[in-house]
């Protein structure tokens, strides 16, 4: 018997077999099926068109109204309404609407809805985020979501894996975003196509859950099927007060095969920004030049967590953002919003001249709450900088950490935080 990776072990367990090999096609049982207000309506239409009249489990489906909610226009309102009615009809337990909702990939881990050892699919590409908890979690389309809701299982092609052996400790003002942008810069936007990215090594003890969630979140930007972290005490502590049921921890076999192994020394990671128009265009401060900006976005499923908001507040607090810059801060969930409020951070942002918004994916995908005009540039803690992603096709998005985004808001140009401290 050949050794298996973490991802392969979770897939084997959910397929009810003792062994799987990369390239093998399997049917596997699902622990969670996720959709949002954009992808769920397409899935619901398919579900109904094919005459399904029951869901496999009312507490293993999550519907999160986060992309265009609070409703951005009449069409978006109609889609959210369709999801809402479906949730009511089938008594979906994990239905999250405006006021309770958060950005899905911040919300599900926070609420303990996903956990180590789970097999999760979501009709959203950043579903790979939950690999931070030691789950196998991957993005799919709406037809897969419909099939998942109806049957509780789905087909998978077992992936091979790339191993990232993490050592060392991040320097001050460097965070998970710099790590993943550095890695994508190294392997490219299809460097992990069809594969798992497995993160392990003794440097994991120096990576917080927020850092890990951010890193796993962007595995898809390297083309990966999933990103997954080895479970340790930091993961267990995070799940302790959130996850109420038991969970399974899978470790890779000592003889597991990897396509490639990379050693990543956290202490050597610099500030890293992805220039337009691909996440692989990673540049360090000496190659930034003078990039004048119009907007800053701090938020999203990648970087809207408490430590992100806190890091930005510690740089912006007590200062004023630059004239001519719009700085939009979006805590990713209601809980994070409340904690940031209690800590005084939201008031600091407002005093500095920032916009503070209720949770939404809005600007990340050019939906609303920060769409860019022709020729405008934005430094953003989001995850994609494709042509037209945040608005006009002649606008530009620079992907950065919360620390760099906050510093840039103060100066009006792409700036490393050390310059404004």
């Amino acid at each position: 018997m050949m050794g298996m990776t973490m991802s392969q072990k979770i897939l084997a367990a959910h397929a009810g077999v003792s062994e799987v090999k990369s390239g093998q096609l399997i049917m596997a049982k699902l622990d969670m099926v996720l959709g949002n207000d954009i992808t769920s309506p397409v899935a619901i239409n398919e579900f109904e068109k094919y005459g399904f009249d029951r869901v496999f489990s009312k507490d293993k489906i999550s519907l999160v109204m986060d992309h265009f909610v609070p409703n951005k226009d009449i069409k978006a309102a109609t889609q959210a309404k369709q999801s809402r009615e479906f949730a009511k009809k089938y008594d979906i337990i994990h239905f999250y609407d405006a006021g309770r909702m958060g950005i899905e990939h911040a919300l599900l881990p926070e609420q303990g809805i996903v956990k180590a050892g789970d097999l999760v699919i979501g009709a959203d590409s950043h579903t790979c985020t939950y690999g931070a908890l030691g789950a196998f979690s991957t993005g799919v389309g709406s037809t897969d979501m419909a099939a998942g809701m109806a049957t509780g299982e789905l087909w998978f092609k077992v992936p091979s894996a790339i191993k990232f052996n993490i050592t060392g400790k991040l320097r001050p003002y460097i965070s998970g975003k710099d790590v993943i942008l550095h890695i994508i810069g190294m392997i490219g936007v299809d460097g992990a196509l069809y594969k798992s990215m497995e993160f392990t090594g003794d440097g994991l003890k120096n990576l917080s859950m927020d850092d890990r969630l951010c890193i796993a979140n962007m595995a898809i930007e390297a083309g990966a099927k999933n990103g997954i972290f080895e479970v340790d005490n930091i993961t267990r502590d995070y799940m302790e007060h959130r996850v109420t049921s038991s969970y399974d921890v899978y470790h890779a076999d000592a003889d597991a095969e990897y396509d490639t192994v990379y050693d990543i020394d956290l202490s050597s990671i610099p500030h890293t920004v992805a220039f337009p128009h691909l996440p692989e265009n990673a540049r360090t401060p000496d190659n930034w030049g003078n990039v004048k900006i119009d907007q800053v976005v701090i938020g999203s499923c990648t970087n809207g967590r408490f430590s992100d908001i806190e890091a930005a507040a510690k740089i912006i607090g007590g200062k004023r953002i630059a004239d001519g810059v719009r700085c939009i801060v979006i805590p990713a969930t209601q809980q994070i919003y409340k904690e940031a409020m209690k800590a005084g951070y939201l008031e600091q942002f407002i005093d500095a001249g920032c916009v503070v918004s209720t949770p939404t994916c809005g600007p990340c995908l050019g939906g609303y709450m920060g769409v860019l005009a022709e020729g405008e540039r934005c430094v953003s803690t989001t995850n994609r900088n494709f042509v037209g992603r945040m608005g006009h096709i002649k606008s530009e998005v620079y992907l950065a950490s919360p620390e760099v985004a906050a510093a840039s808001a103060l100066t009006g140009r792409l700036t490393a935080p050390e310059e404004v401290l």
């Binding site: 419909a146 995908l365 994609r384």
Partner: protein
């Protein structure tokens, strides 16, 4: 099963945001999605495209978001097949699941130019460039996926089980 049409050619990393920009994701109407297909990378595409035409891309076609609206927009605009060197994995699943034929073939991606007339035999994986009189061999689908395509989509195959 066969397809024949004029090739529309694109480069590497054609992402789902340019295939169908998120500002149009407030609808699920297939024809409305088709009317905005490729608009951020090729604003004339919807005017040029004819029923049966073929899209040819490079590496990592369909990268980015999981929006099934992307293959839906392509299929509903009349495209009969997408050929690329590689596909991003979610787009690959979505295309199969909705019954949009896609083929991975480096030689075809390199050999076919915009405007070439291309014929495809899905049973054999043979791609014929009628304009250049060249033949390229694409990898055939594994039997499991062929079954989904024969059932005309994944939900049909689930429902028939």
């Amino acid at each position: 099963m066969q397809a024949k049409g004029i090739a529309h050619k694109y480069g590497d990393n054609i992402d789902t945001d340019v295939i169908i920009p998120a500002r149009h994701l407030n609808t699920q109407d297939h024809l409305e999605l088709a009317s905005h297909c490729m608009e951020d990378i090729d604003s004339d595409f919807v005017k040029r495209v004819k029923q049966g035409d073929i899209i040819v891309g490079g590496y990592n076609f369909g990268c980015g978001s999981s929006r099934e609206h992307a293959p839906i927009a392509i299929k509903s605009s009349g495209i009969s097949c997408v050929i690329a060197k590689t596909f991003a994995r979610i787009f690959y699943r979505n295309a199969i699941n909705i019954g949009l034929p896609i083929l991975e073939c480096e030689a075809a991606s390199d050999g076919i130019d915009a405007g070439d007339i291309v014929e495809i035999d899905f049973d054999t994986g043979l791609i014929t460039n009628l304009t250049k009189r060249e033949i390229y061999q694409a990898q055939a689908f594994p039997p499991f996926i062929q079954k989904i395509i024969r059932a005309n989509g994944y939900l049909n195959s689930v429902k028939n089980k």
